[in-house]
Every structure is written in structure tokens, then in C-alpha cells.
Symmetry: C2
Subunit: 357 residues, 2 copies
Amino acid sequence: MSIETKSSSHVASEDAILQCLATYFPQNQDEIRMGRGDDCALFHVEHSMAVSTDMFLENIHFRTSYFTPADIGYKALAVNLSDLAACGAKPLAFTLCLGIPEHIDLPWLHQFFGGMADLANTYNVNLVGGDLSRSPTIHISITVFGETTGVSCFLTRGGSMPGDTIFVIGQLGLARVGLDLLEHQGRAAMESWPMACAAHLRPNPHCNAGLVLGRVAFNTRPPALMDISDGLVRDLPRLLGLSGELGLANGEGSSLGAELTLTEEQIHPEVLRWSAAHNINPYHTMMVGGEDYALLGACAPDLMPSLEAAIPEITTIGTITQKGYITCNETPFSTQDGFDHFAKSAQNTASLNHHNL
Amino acid sequence: MSIETKSSSHVASEDAILQCLATYFPQNQDEIRMGRGDDCALFHVEHSMAVSTDMFLENIHFRTSYFTPADIGYKALAVNLSDLAACGAKPLAFTLCLGIPEHIDLPWLHQFFGGMADLANTYNVNLVGGDLSRSPTIHISITVFGETTGVSCFLTRGGSMPGDTIFVIGQLGLARVGLDLLEHQGRAAMESWPMACAAHLRPNPHCNAGLVLGRVAFNTRPPALMDISDGLVRDLPRLLGLSGELGLANGEGSSLGAELTLTEEQIHPEVLRWSAAHNINPYHTMMVGGEDYALLGACAPDLMPSLEAAIPEITTIGTITQKGYITCNETPFSTQDGFDHFAKSAQNTASLNHHNL
């Protein structure tokens, strides 16, 4: 029942949308007892179920001027799967809330569902329910469900100890460079900056690496793990249990800290090139860039050899300390203006637009 | 990371919002191993988990001109809990995606979370995660989780047989009357039409009745059950397995039908009064009204005495037939223009704005 009373001129009927959706999203997981089409979906998971939810909103998280419909569908699911990866959970299913403006037509939806299905099918993650609505701009909310298996751990952000090795899986700063280029040049930027643009348009959720981390840790102290959505400079304090900027370069009491040792080889060539062109310290680009969806973790040093064998792209970036602040290449790293987009006095040019509860 | 680059003038910081939220939503369920604050929440449920998701959008599903912030918070959760009720599942937890415009301040959020917490605490349903974002209008997406216990059934829409008794739990048409009055008179309508306005502003999810239905059915053929969100005339065909309007008053083949027998005593006095004032057949008001969030079900006739004993508000409204169409008081009931708000040619004045997958 709607509070709107004028005629709709929507270009696709509900039935047509549901048929379109059904062609892209089969339901074939054993754990799903009841999928789409009833009031609830029903799961049975033998061990425990991990749940996460993220929004993906037009003009807040993406622009249609340089995101194709397929990119939008892909990334909306990718940012959610990244949360499962960050807990070492195996992706299982998701629900989709989709608000679409009147100008969206069936060909658009085919591309959108197609892009989302590309990623869903990669991980055999089933669409088990959702909600469709008209809305003024494109609105996507996804909730993902994953399971921890009998031989793996659910990995949290906590539990690091002084002396632990800090590692990253994935590129840092590259997506932020891509955002800047796409904002200024549109999709033309893809020709000279293919990896940066791809990092922003289609981030890769590190689900398989997350699963390996969960399994490797089964009989030992598990790694602390999270995904980097707000940039290393914002997310590392969360891994350390520091309260945002407060703990940076200003040690207080007994909280954990970090000594980062970054080398130029760890910086992506496009990040180096972009930083040089803008006269910005490339380490700075690397640390403040948001939406990397890389995994950030810490574990006992003696666990690293087996992790490096199982996850070739893992990179050591530093060590946990008990100093209560963060240094980068022996220099205390002072925070930038935060990403907190709800703050009255936010001044920076790259504010985060979502905050996970 | 945001694509917006201008300064934010948001009146509440993220930290203040999170503190506000924490005061209203404790996390105290045994089944929740990890709640808010990490990348995922973690559940352990011994039997099976029911999941549903619904959006609640400003100017689509509600208006701030007559919904208080507390009403918005309450109803956003209520429409989701109603889906759990419709499956006989016990409410356990929920996640919240909240998009808020810049003008929303902390006092507004206190009322919003307070209204939501009123209902959450009634059913001891825990907020286990979510996502906050700026957005142009108020956007709420909620995903709810429920469990089926060892001595109850997960109830679906299917399984009705000819001869089954059709029943309703809750009022029909009252919320639609409330919507009309609130649209025309604002909250002043509450004085003369308190029940109709309340039915629209704060619908009651029939969770306890849903649980009773699941338990009563444990050792017998379970009732078919769903909640009525689009009006009886749209939702009854779904219970019968008819494809929307197609099956109405136009019997084809072997599909199920229904003979409804409605009496004036079953019509709420405010529905009768409103229908008389608008010269509308009150049975019509009762059948087409949306957002009732009543439960609609069907079961073997010999199950009704025990259901009536356990659920005093249950009402018999008819019998399942094998005629493939629906009659109301012996008259074939022809459908109204549907609620399908995506259809190009939608002409009616009350179009539904969401469609569950």
C-alpha cells in the first residue's frame, strides 16, 4: 500500500522484474530449506552463521555516470562478501533490498542482475529473498549469510598481542586513486589507469583468503582480521582496539600500537604514478585511501610462513607494539581529517558514507 | 569513502549516533555469539533459522508529516516481524540499514530508536548489526532473523486442500482507512479514528499467534500461513497458489479457490463508518485494504477448535474450494486494479510500493 496516489509510469512490471531475477539467481544450496517466494527464507546451518549488512546508494557510494549497471550489481554484493571474508566465513546466501527509480528499465535490470550474478555464482552464494520498491534514487541494501565450518574459526578484530605480525591481503590506496580519476575523467580514465579504476568499480572480496585464514588458525591462536573499508589509517586503530583517531601518534596508557614498515615495492605502480602527478607522498595515498576491501590482520610471527605458503598475495606491513600509537617507517603517523561524514565540522574531501554497526 | 566532496553539515556525529543506539538496544540473546562491532555478527541456532527483509522508505511507505520518529522506528521493525509471525518463527535478532538526511538530529534519532526499541524489547529481539549512511530521504532496510524451535513447524503459504477452513488473525481494511484519513487530515484524524490511525502507524505483528500456530501444528498437517501486506484480494490468491489476478473470478483447470463468507460483525466499526461516509461497500474496503499485517491462513477444519482456544482473536472467513476462483458471500469477486506499482498502466489510487522476493 502506497502513500503515493498518482499513476505510475514505471517501465517494468513486478512480474517482469521477478522473471528477470529468476534467470540470474538459481537456488541450489543444500543448506537453504526455503528460498524466495514465501514470507521468510529458511536455513539450516550445522555450525554457526555469520551475518553482515551494507548499503550501496546512488550519489553516495556510486555514480551512474561511470558505474555501469553491471558494475553496480557487482560492487553492491562485493562489499558485503568482503565482510564475510573478514570473518573467515564461507559465503552461503544473501537477501537484496532494491529501490529503483522510474527511469530504470528491464535492460538495465538485466545488466544489474547479471553483474551481481557474476560474483554470486563465483562463490555459489544464493539470493534467498528481498524486497523491491520504487525510490527516488537507486538504493541497494544487501544482507549476506556465511557459515563457519567444523574445521575453521570465526575470526574477529580482537586478540592481537605485542609482537604480532601485521599483514595485508590486497592493494592499499588503489581504489581511492581510481575514485579520483573516475570522478575527474569518467570511464575514459580506464584506458590509462585500468587497475585503479577496476579497484574502485569492481573490488575483489578476498573470500578464499579469509577461508584459508580461518582454517590455518583452527588449532592455534587465531589471527585478528578485518576488511579495510575506510583506509588503513582509520581501520588499523580498530584492529588495535584504539578509539579512532584518539590513539594515533598520541600514546596513552596500555593500549596497543603498531610499527609499520612500508616499502615502495608494496605500492601499486598506478598509486605511485598518481601520487607523483599530484605531488602527494605515495605512502600517504596508500594509508588514507578508502574502499580497498583488502584484508588487514595480525597473527603470531610463527604463523606467517604457513600463511605465506597458502596465500601468495599476503604482505607483511609491520608489527604490533604496546606503545598505544602508530608509526610508519619510524615516523609517528598523524591522522588526516576523519571520514566521519556525520560530524558537523568535517572538512576533508573524502568522507566515508557508511558506518557499520 | 565518498564520492561527495563538499563539507558535511550533519548535526550528529557517528559516535553520538552509535552511543544513542547502544542505549536502546542491549544485546542479551544466548544464541548471539558476536553482536555489533565486528565485520559480521555470529549466531548459533540449534534448529533452523528464518530470514526476511523489508524496506521502509520516506515518501513511499511513510510520511514524516504524520509519522512521529517513534512511529517510523516502530513500524519499520513491525512489518519485518510480521514476516516471522507468518512463518511461525520466534523472533531472535535483526540488522538495520539506516540512511538519514542531513536535517535529522540526535533528538529525532532518540525518538526513532526508542520507538523501534519498544517493539524490539517486547519480543526480546536484538539489534546485531547494520550500516549507517547519509541519504537524501529517510531510508530503512531491516533484515530479521527468527528460529523454529524443536516443537514447532516452519509454516509456509502452501499445502492447502479443498475443504480447509480459511482464517484471519487481525483486522482487515482498518490500516487502509487509517492511511486515507492521515493523508487527508494528518494526525488530527487520530481523535475521531483512533483505531484506524493506529493500525496504519503502529501495526501489530502477530508473533505470538504465529508461534502458537507453529506449535499446534507440530503433529498434524500444518496450516498454510502468510501475512496480509497487499490486501486480502491480492494475498489470498498467493495462499491458493493462484498467480495474482489471473485466478480471480475466472476458474481455469484444477487450481484452488475460495468461498468467503464475511459478516458485518467481522468489519471494524471504523471501517464501517468510513465506508458509509464514502459510499463504498464495506466488504470491498475490507478486502482491498493493504498493510493490514493480519495473518491469513488455512487448515483442516478439525484443527480450528484448538486454534480458537489458543488464539481468541482468530476469525473464520471461508473455505478452500477446488473451483480456481474466489467468491465473497456467493458473488464472484473481481479484482481491483492491482497494487503492482511497477506496471506501466497502473491506474489505481492505492498502489503497493514493495514486493517481497
